[in-house]
Symmetry: C2
Subunit: 223 residues, 2 copies
């Protein structure tokens, strides 16, 4: 029987690459997206298109992280910065990956999937604490005491195939697997057509990635 | 300055006891409830009344755990059992406490609270894996690598003051702190008036607790 995996699919460049990698490894993938009050709704639409292209079941869980506040990504009162400063940026959403992985864990348990894929990255990342290898290791430990499935002998594995790759390497890997990055959205301030601003942290990382990989940047920019 | 704490408040007997204990310890409490697709909406109404009585800010986060499925508590297709069987029961909600604590962690970080209180219990409990001390220890470890706050020197502590208490001891402790249990709801199948069925697992544990504690059971039963 084909092994099942839950893949966190934001609709960004990284998560579609992870989905392509998980499929290439032979997993039957179940995509999980979140409507968490993010400014960037284009991301959700991208996730929908990608799930259809890859012919995977996709679930969108709604939860109001905006009500908790504390981030430029969910709070219209906090401006998205245009430059990468020192320290952890205001685009950090408190405990976001902890919440997302928890829900992925719950769904994985229901599906009898023991594998969860997430596109965190500890190289070209923005300094988020919940993208670090020690966070993932701690979550995997937690998952294996938290659930009925693990107690009954179905241990969970959290896969982070991008964690040590540069953005350029991610793009090269995805391109070799046939990923169409044109439909992905990375920009924190993408417009309703999914067009990117070209200047925020996420856009800069992405642009540099295509440039370094020597692959044509198919991103749709608004400017 | 008064230390802040996030207290998970379901509206049940255990969580109101925890709230009373945290307040008695001098914390400024922030109550967190979840509208997660549970059958038992009376619980949410109880939480609202309790938060008002204790004069604490309460946030209700909506998230659709029912869409993930797998539990009698969120899925109308799965019957709530009337007797405690062997093993982990069908009322187990996959990864529920992991999800709840993750959201509590996010809110705590925004509030600059370093203390989170949860009324899990490893004695008179129903066999849920995410009520065990090893689960709580693993979550605390996770919390302290997952967040900006912990990286910047504000470590989190997960408080479980009920974890080794019997239901009778919990009731005795709460009663000594003036808790009015009449307004709490424990029943998995409470009706819309918050009246308990008197026969489900949760009702049995509660009834026995009052009996053993020698404290009059003020629970409102439908039958």
């Amino acid at each position: 029987m084909q092994k099942k995996a839950v893949v966190l699919l934001s609709g960004g460049l990284d998560s579609v690459t992870v989905l392509a990698m998980a499929q290439a490894q032979g997993y039957e993938c179940f995509a999980l997206s979140f409507n968490y009050g993010q400014r960037n709704k284009a991301e959700l639409q991208a996730g929908e298109k990608i799930a259809a292209d890859y012919d995977v079941v996709r679930k969108v869980v709604s939860l109001d992280l905006g009500s908790i506040g504390g981030s430029a990504l969910t709070d219209a009162e906090i401006a998205v910065p245009q430059t990468l400063g020192a320290g952890i940026p205001v685009t950090y959403v408190p405990a976001r990956n902890t919440v997302f992985l928890s829900l992925a864990l719950g769904w994985a348990e229901v599906l009898h999937a023991q594998d969860i894929f997430i596109g965190v990255n500890a190289v070209d990342y923005s300094g988020y604490p919940d993208c670090r290898p020690e966070f993932i290791a701690a979550f995997e430990t937690l998952a294996n005491v938290a659930t009925k499935a693990s107690v009954e002998g179905e241990p969970f594995k959290i896969h982070t195939p991008l964690i040590y790759l540069s953005k350029a390497e991610i793009i090269a890997r995805g391109t070799s697997l046939g990923v169409d990055y044109r439909q992905t959205v990375s920009c924190y301030s993408a417009n309703e057509n999914g067009e990117a601003c070209g200047t925020c942290d996420a856009c800069r990382l992405r642009k540099t990635g295509f440039l370094t990989a020597g692959i044509e940047d198919s991103t749709r920019y608004a400017i």
